[in-house]
Symmetry: C2
Subunit: 327 residues, 2 copies
Amino acid sequence: MRIAIDAMGGDHAPDTNVLGGLEAAREWKDTEIILVGDEAKMRALLPEIPSNLKLVHASEVIEPEDEPVRSVRRKKDASMVVAGRMVKEGLAEAMISAGNTGALMTTGLLVVGRIKGIERPALAPIIPTIDGKGMLALDLGANMDATPEHLAQYALMGSIYREKVQGVSSPRVGLLNVGTEAKKGNELVKEAYPLLEALPIQFVGNVEARDVLNGVCDVLVCDGFAGNILLKTMEGTAAGIFSLLKQQFSKSLKTKLSAALIMPELRSLRNIMDYKEHGGAPLLGLNGLVIKGHGSSDTGAIKHAVRQARIAIKGNLVSSISQEVIG
Amino acid sequence: MRIAIDAMGGDHAPDTNVLGGLEAAREWKDTEIILVGDEAKMRALLPEIPSNLKLVHASEVIEPEDEPVRSVRRKKDASMVVAGRMVKEGLAEAMISAGNTGALMTTGLLVVGRIKGIERPALAPIIPTIDGKGMLALDLGANMDATPEHLAQYALMGSIYREKVQGVSSPRVGLLNVGTEAKKGNELVKEAYPLLEALPIQFVGNVEARDVLNGVCDVLVCDGFAGNILLKTMEGTAAGIFSLLKQQFSKSLKTKLSAALIMPELRSLRNIMDYKEHGGAPLLGLNGLVIKGHGSSDTGAIKHAVRQARIAIKGNLVSSISQEVIG
């Protein structure tokens, strides 16, 4: 199998991307890792080039501040776009990028293309839960508006991914809502509810935002707007509480002593709340595998994304989704 | 001025409602407090009946599990409905209830009635911020779906309430969104943005969910669905972190010692995150003042709701909103 890595996208590119790719090539000999980017820069970073590591030159880079649609259209030789084209043309089964999220979604849509029958691809990161298992949530930002039919497709794709790639058998799929009763919610989720009930998935009904952290389901279905509010509120609340804790801990000698005693435990707590710890987020519904790595991905995160891609390719994720949609 | 209190609604009714009403009557001699409920029960709880405390008998009670619309229509002599009717008929300027939220919203809509020109009333609680000042957020659940015009009316009503009743001059009004740029968001907020810009308020633009706790605005405008996701996620995340903290603190003798040292600070932190601490939530847009007390309201909370109602009545809140809407 062949996995293309956008070597130029992300806060620590190209260094961590190139070295992460090298580590992946060393670990999985059956996998061809294709680094796409400035060849001279990539070569300079590599102490050796194993036989299953390929370099593909791309002369342009999509920057974080670039406008997504325009940059993907104009920068035809950008590392991200070239990697996307390789997936489109069957030269790679998957691509990974830690670059501009909007541009990656555009690359997915315009370069890689959708699975026939899928109306909207969805971004599906893992959000944290207290038990450490996480919850696959989609859509978290690929589309701001959704129809009930889109939510049903998210549910189906999320369930397949969670089972095939993350090894959760018969994943519990929940619908993000304001209450657990079936008739609750806005028009969108009220109409989506019976559609989810009719799918060949384990639909566990509505899930309230306050129960997400408790891991009440394995796959959480929501529109991109509500999902963003959920994820950003979790982030903001956790950050706020930790900053308040820090304030309280530095109040007096007594509290400083207490802080010193508990510090390792607080750090591990903070890690539980950090969704960046949970690997790359797939863009589901595309005619090929596209994985979004977090902007601040380090070598380990890149390697972890390769691991995810390998499992997805082996599990025939894309064709499984395609078959379910065509039914 | 006359303020009706639904004596029978809430977890600790009628006790705390009656005693809270008594305390309010004792403190504010210029205010007539009207307790509405089972007269015998109310009388049995009162050690004395000051001249500005009135009892109005109501033979029925709306229970927490009652279906809102049906119960308000059928239980015509329910304490909540009778209090609403007093506002409608000009026998009281305000009503306070800690009972069934859905039923109170229905009472507001069907019994008290809307201000002419207001399409949807909005529930406007204070949500916590780190600086302790809180943020008035609306709508938090009166209507699940909203149009851009509804959001604009929420913005106007929230700004007036925050200024008149909570004493914030020229309150900063923000629109809950997925990013701060003007073109961000779903169709609803994209269309609402220019409407908010055109209002005679201090519109500070889009506000991201992760910045809410930092108090980046005084009034937060959102549809009832997104608002519920925001508030419930804050609650759930805070509860989750505190439960994880508790786990970590009880891990060893060392961490237990640390916990004992920091406990008072942790308690005050927990209080900051508890939005129940922040008083009653007005239902804005009605032809009279309706304040929702939290279900678990104690005597102090009931008295605090009376204080809010007094300020709103003195500030001519309802006619101010009415004038701004008619323009």
